[in-house]
């Protein structure tokens, strides 16, 4: 399927953020094209709808209702990012020693080479670059909540987040994405995480946008030896969502867990691309992604586990399960294994099906309406993923949102 690619919108961006342009990235971007379904990595995900709009960088709207993304009963430090720009007045930052949060000026950003179009686009017109450094042995007393809110006409938000967690430190992060429901937005967020030796890090992403919104997340995680890392990608709402998660296990004895759930409906599209690189011996990775697809929605899962030469005693597990609730919905699953070491235990599974007729019948025979029976079963299905969210308040918030959307049983 050919997609018309115009670069008109880039001119608009340039006019609005000329001062932020990274010339090096811009030069590379000019050599690149929007990905099309002819690219293997974009086989099932079209970008045409993004390319047809003209996106603009908007200033911070001080009255943007970002508070709607706050989580009840949860004590957190808050970092507010409005239209891709760090809004320090609204943020509550930790003051304890050993935690540094600062922004990196455009001229200080080191330009490197860019693997794909969205990465170059992000670097060329980065709206703000925030760095969080947690020193060795620091145990954070509460999580850091990163709140992204887009409010403005055809707003383009392209923040970069760099998180460095020192050795033996412990930290947890929550990242929420929201927007004004009447406007269109395009978020292209880049995240770099470095997890130090023996550190313990959890990261929960809550994507809760609207049908008009496009969201691209590019997450690069590097983990040092003996560390533990968990990332949960919870896609509640949003028109077009693509998550590219790359986890590199750069030492021995690492435990990595990556989980996700997605519940697209109407014309929504959710695409999860994950890659786990086992570079050293004695590491475990555990991956679970579950999807519930309704109406005319599309789901994409592409999970890759790459076990490098000599990464012996690797234990890698990957599971993708999907339920289609409508004949118009479609799911494309591509679980991949690339293995170059022999003494490993690697397995993956992928299933796509529908709710069990017998279970539906049983629940109805006990007096539940078909609707409630269906919701009870789908709740159990999605809970497998939500149970990996350690923070109870975060889990309760997600469940409440899914109930509000009529997706789960309550």
């Amino acid at each position: 399927m050919e997609e018309t690619i115009t670069n008109n919108q880039i001119i608009d961006i340039e006019r609005s953020v000329l001062s932020m342009v990274n010339v090096h990235a811009k030069a590379q971007l000019d050599q690149m094209q929007w990905p099309t379904t002819r690219d293997e990595e974009w086989k099932y995900t079209r970008t045409g709808r993004i390319t047809k709009e003209s996106w603009m960088v908007s200033p911070i709207q001080s009255n943007a209702p970002w508070q709607s993304l706050q989580i009840e009963n949860l004590d957190v430090y808050t970092i507010v990012i409005i239209n891709g720009q760090f809004y320090s007045q609204a943020s509550t930052l930790p003051t304890a020693a050993g935690i540094t949060i600062d922004t990196i000026a455009p001229q200080e950003r080191i330009a490197t080479s860019f693997g794909h179009f969205f990465e170059a686009l992000q670097a060329a017109y980065c709206t703000s670059h925030l760095r969080i450094v947690i020193a060795d042995k620091v145990q954070m007393d509460r999580p850091i909540h990163l709140i992204h809110f887009n409010d403005g006409q055809k707003v383009l938000s392209q923040p970069t987040l760099t998180i460095e967690v020192g050795a033996f430190a412990k930290a947890s992060f929550i990242e929420s994405f929201g927007s004004n429901s009447t406007e269109q937005s395009f978020g292209n967020r880049k995240l770099n995480i470095h997890v130090g030796e023996n550190a313990h890090v959890t990261f929960d992403k809550i994507q809760d946008l609207h049908d008009n919104d496009f969201l691209m997340n590019d997450d690069q995680v590097h983990i040092a030896k003996s560390a533990q890392f968990t990332i949960n990608t919870l896609t509640i709402d949003g028109g077009w969502t693509r998550n590219q998660l790359h986890i590199s296990l750069d030492g021995e004895n690492i435990e990595a867990s990556l989980n996700g759930c997605y519940l697209p409906r109407r014309n929504q599209l959710v695409d999860n691309h994950t890659k786990v690189d086992h570079r050293f011996a004695h590491c475990n990775s555990h991956e679970l992604y579950k999807g519930l697809l309704n109406d005319r929605s599309t789901g994409v899962f592409n999970g890759k586990v790459h076990v490098h030469l000599d990464a012996q005693k690797t234990n890698a597990y990957q599971q993708n399960a999907n339920i289609l609730l409508s004949d118009e919905a479609q799911m494309n699953s591509k679980p991949e294994l690339e293995i170059y070491a022999d003494d490993v235990k690697c397995s993956h599974g992928s299933t796509t099906g529908q709710l069990d007729d017998e279970a539906m019948f049983y629940l109805q025979s006990r007096g539940l309406s078909p609707d409630n029976a269906r919701r009870l079963l789908t709740t159990a299905f999605i809970n497998d993923v939500l149970n990996h969210v350690e923070n109870e308040a975060v889990r309760a918030h997600v469940i409440q949102r899914l109930e509000q959307e009529g997706l789960l049983y309550h």
Binding site: Q312, T351, G353
Partner: protein
């Protein structure tokens, strides 16, 4: 695991490497329209087929070689290949005794002595020696039932309507680079037609063999099972040892009409190259079956032990309602071999079912990939797929990869895929040793058990040879 045994396996040289000195009629290397006209006129083909070939050539010229497979090799020089070689003396035979003694010895070395085949199993062997069939047996017996089993060249002369109707119907010339090339230059292959309601009483079999140095083989096989018929077709290959790479780009098309069943079994043992990766056959094959009618069934079983590079995806298009597609595969790679193989199951009809069982065994420094597509289209309501892809790694320098594509477009279908990768467990070996088996027997038993699920699907007569080839590929591992 004992390094000694693994060394022994890894250093095992190709046993079937020999060249049969039969005089050949060969045209100069290179490919252009004149070569295609020459092939066509040598085979005395009708004009429509010549035009069909020329169109395919025009399509091929515009195409590029596929590069997406997980294999690396030096691209063949398509102008450096001779596209036609036929034994000079084509004997007219009525009985096997008249066959060239040189050819007989070749077959005996392969362990497929025709007398034995004939006596023990009732297999009709259509032996292809460098592109032209030189012997066809049991033809009269099959003829009584109305079964046509002959070389494709013969079919073009004698049954042009059937060939014209079905050639390219399942694998169109535009399908891929190698299918287009094959359509332009194919020299021979087999043709099989089973009439309505006939159950073929014996296993049909063809042994392909590359014999002439520097010739590519472009076989074309067409099997048509008319309504309510059944056929089991066997294909087996061994190639003599040679240093330069040889290209093998075959096309196999199967058509199963309503209630028909085709069982297609392959044992592939082309020359895999020596242990440094020198030489070996490039096996770029397009195989596809069309379940055209309701309740039809196509089953692919393959044991792949040979070829330096394998690029092969026997597929099923499940068009008829309640049609069934199956794929059972054992792929063994050793030394520097690279295999990228799997299947495609395209579900179009309602209540269609497909099963995929793939067992990969990697040894030496080889790379073994499974690549498969399961596509459930919107019209394929209540369809079912089950896929299982297991890999066994024998050394720490080989690779095993899985690339499944699963696309589901309706809510009433169920698709399951699972894959595992592991090595032979120390505990399994220990158990066997402790029961009094030696290490070699232990490995043999475990690998045999691992592949059994697929080997069991092979017809009896073929299973013996398949085990022989497995044993040669992993000498000492399989009993």
């Amino acid at each position: 695991m004992s390094d000694e045994i693994l060394d022994h396996i890894t250093n095992k040289e190709y046993e079937f490497g020999f060249v049969t000195p039969i005089e050949s009629d060969k045209i100069a290397a290179g490919l252009n329209e004149d070569v295609i006209r020459l092939i066509s006129s040598k085979k005395n083909e009708p004009e429509w087929l010549l035009n069909w070939r020329l169109e395919a050539y025009a399509i091929w010229e515009k195409m590029n070689e596929p590069t997406w497979a997980h294999v690396q090799y030096k691209k063949p020089d398509f102008q450096g290949i001779s596209y036609y070689a036929a034994p000079k003396q084509k004997p007219q035979l009525n009985s096997l005794d008249e066959i060239d003694p040189e050819l007989r010895r070749t077959m005996e070395k392969l362990g497929i002595s025709m007398e034995e085949q004939k006596r023990l199993s009732g297999v009709a062997v259509d032996f292809v020696m460098d592109s032209v069939s030189v012997a066809t047996s049991f033809k009269e017996k099959l003829g009584e039932l109305g079964i046509i089993f002959c070389s494709i060249s013969e079919a073009i002369q004698e049954h042009p309507d059937l060939v014209r109707k079905y050639i390219g119907a399942v694998v169109p010339r535009t399908d891929n680079f190698y299918a287009a090339l094959n359509s332009a230059v194919f020299t021979d292959g087999s043709f099989c037609y089973i009439p309505k309601g006939v159950r073929c009483p014996m296993e049909l079999s063809t042994y392909f063999r590359i014999n002439e140095g520097g010739t590519g083989q472009f076989e074309r096989t067409l099997v048509i099972a008319d309504e309510g018929s059944y056929v089991s077709y066997l294909e087996g290959c061994t190639a003599p040892q040679r240093d330069e790479n040889q290209l093998h780009a075959a096309v196999v098309e199967l058509v199963a009409l309503g209630d028909a069943e085709i069982k297609y079994s392959t044992v592939q043992n082309w020359y895999p190259g020596d242990k440094d990766g020198k030489g070996g056959v490039f096996n770029f094959v397009t195989k596809r079956g069309l379940c055209d009618g309701n309740r039809s069934k196509i089953s692919w079983t393959q044991v792949e032990t040979g070829s330096a590079i394998t690029w092969k995806y026997p597929s099923c298009i499940l068009k008829g309602d309640y049609s069934v597609g199956e794929f059972y595969s054992v792929a063994v790679t050793n030394h520097m071999q690279q295999a990228d193989t799997g299947t495609k199951m395209i579900h179009l009809g309602k209540n269609t079912t497909s099963t995929i069982i793939s067992k990969g065994i990697s040894a030496g420094k080889s790379q073994n990939s499974y690549r498969g597509l399961v596509q459930i289209n919107k019209s394929a309501e209540h369809s079912r797929n089950f896929s299982q892809c297991d890999s066994l790694l024998m050394t720490d320098r080989c690779g095993a990869h899985t690339f499944p594509y699963i696309e589901v477009k309706n809510k009433s279908s169920k698709v399951e895929h699972e894959a595992t990768t592991s090595k032979i467990g120390e505990d399994q070996i220990f158990y066997c040793l402790q029961r009094g088996l030696d290490q070699e027997q232990a490995i043999s038993m475990i690998v045999n058990g691992y592949a059994k699920e697929v080997l069991n699907k092979l017809p009896m007569e073929f299973a013996v040879e398949a085990q022989k080839l497995l044993a040669i590929s992993l000498e000492g591992s399989v009993g």
